[in-house]
Amino acid sequence: MIALLTRDLRLAVRAGGGFGLGLAFFLIVTVLVPFGVGPQTDLLTRIAPGILWIGALLACLLSLDRIFALDWEDGSLDLLATAPLPMEGIVSVKALAHWITTGLPLVLAAPALGVLLNLAGPGYLWLFVSLALGTPALSVIGTFGAALTVGLKRGGLLMSLLVLPLYVPTLIFGAEVARRGAEGLAVQTPLLMLAGISFGVAALLPFASAAVLRINLR
């Protein structure tokens, strides 16, 4: 398991691995929004939590189809399936590797990008907390989508269509935490819901991902 994780991380940082792609996309999206909205700082302050969350979500989506597609193309997925690792473990490790290479940089960069959107003072902490709690759910749900579409040529678009609706609850509660935090309101309820979603999908979805992956390998 650790071998698989270190291999995936090593591949991600080598040329063509796509490390930093999501981060760069996130940066560009959040830089473009003020240009599109115009120099209205109070409006930007109001929409900042939502924009940052949507930006992070789209950046996450961008690299999902790499999770299994590359391993499927070169045949290593077949070999991993016959290796002594349980399939549930493989998909969990893949989701973790995706989070470390995509989600974690987003979480760390988001407060810095909040400045560009004139995020309100208390919002920085809660934006960080909500993304740290919510992005693992995005990776796990995305791994499920990637497992569903593995083996399809040009399956990326279909995967986006499958995954985006599943992202809705995470987005609602994640952005709500950031918004309430920025406005100085109580964040407990959406924060607990967000944590519940993350832990719930991390516990249950790997079984579904492993099942669809087994079917897709046939």
Partner: protein
């Protein structure tokens, strides 16, 4: 422990391709599947490897004892030869890649990125992976594709060494490897008759 298949029916894309296949593979022996293209050799191997379920019949003695090598080598082009082998050794919980490297004459290439290897060198690396898994049953699908004569000899030697240690090998190949421990198994007589009734078209 023997690898046995009894009355196995395998399907590709829901259509049965081989029907009623039975064989037994004892330790120290190799079984070479023969048959024309499209006969169902790959499907049979994937079923034995547990990558797809059999329509009927059963395989015993496979599961955690086999290692599979298909048409694709499963190499990461951005990892070096040594890193690729170390990864599989760690996944299978074995130590040391030295014997695998020397058996396939890859020592001088250990630090090269796998993506820069030639097709034959990649194949040799893919076959060297079998040795680091430490599994007793090798299930090989056309292992000699893109290998030159010298490499085929290296491969045959590696298989014989593996058989000598009590391992066994089940492979599909079109060439003669010159392995005395190998028996031929022609899959042609087991080709499934087209059975339209098996498909429940009424529900489609």
């Amino acid at each position: 422990m023997e690898l046995t298949a009894s009355d196995l029916t395998v399907a590709r894309g829901g259509v049965p391709v081989l029907d009623g296949v039975s064989f037994a593979l004892a330790p120290g022996r190799a079984l070479v599947l023969r048959g024309p293209n499209g006969a169902g050799k790959t499907t049979l191997l994937r079923t034995v490897a547990g990558l797809q379920p059999a329509l009927a019949g059963e395989v015993s003695g496979a599961g955690e004892r086999i290692t599979y090598a298909g048409h694709a080598d499963g190499l990461k082009s951005m990892l070096s030869v040594g890193e690729n082998l170390h990864f599989w050794a760690r996944v299978f919980g074995t130590e040391g890649i030295g014997t695998a490297l020397s058996a396939f004459n890859l020592e001088t290439l250990e630090d090269r990125l796998a993506g820069t290897l030639s097709a034959g060198q990649k194949r040799r690396l893919g076959l060297a992976r079998l040795m680091v898994t430490g599994r007793p049953v090798w299930v090989l699908d056309e292992p000699t594709v893109s290998l030159d004569t010298a490499s085929v000899a290296l491969f045959a030697e590696a298989v014989r060494a593996h058989l000598g240690q009590g391992g066994s090998a089940l492979m599909a190949t079109h060439i003669d490897l010159g392995i005395p421990e190998a028996d031929d198994f022609d899959v042609t007589p087991y080709r499934a008759q087209p059975r339209a009734a098996l498909q429940d078209e009424a529900f489609l």
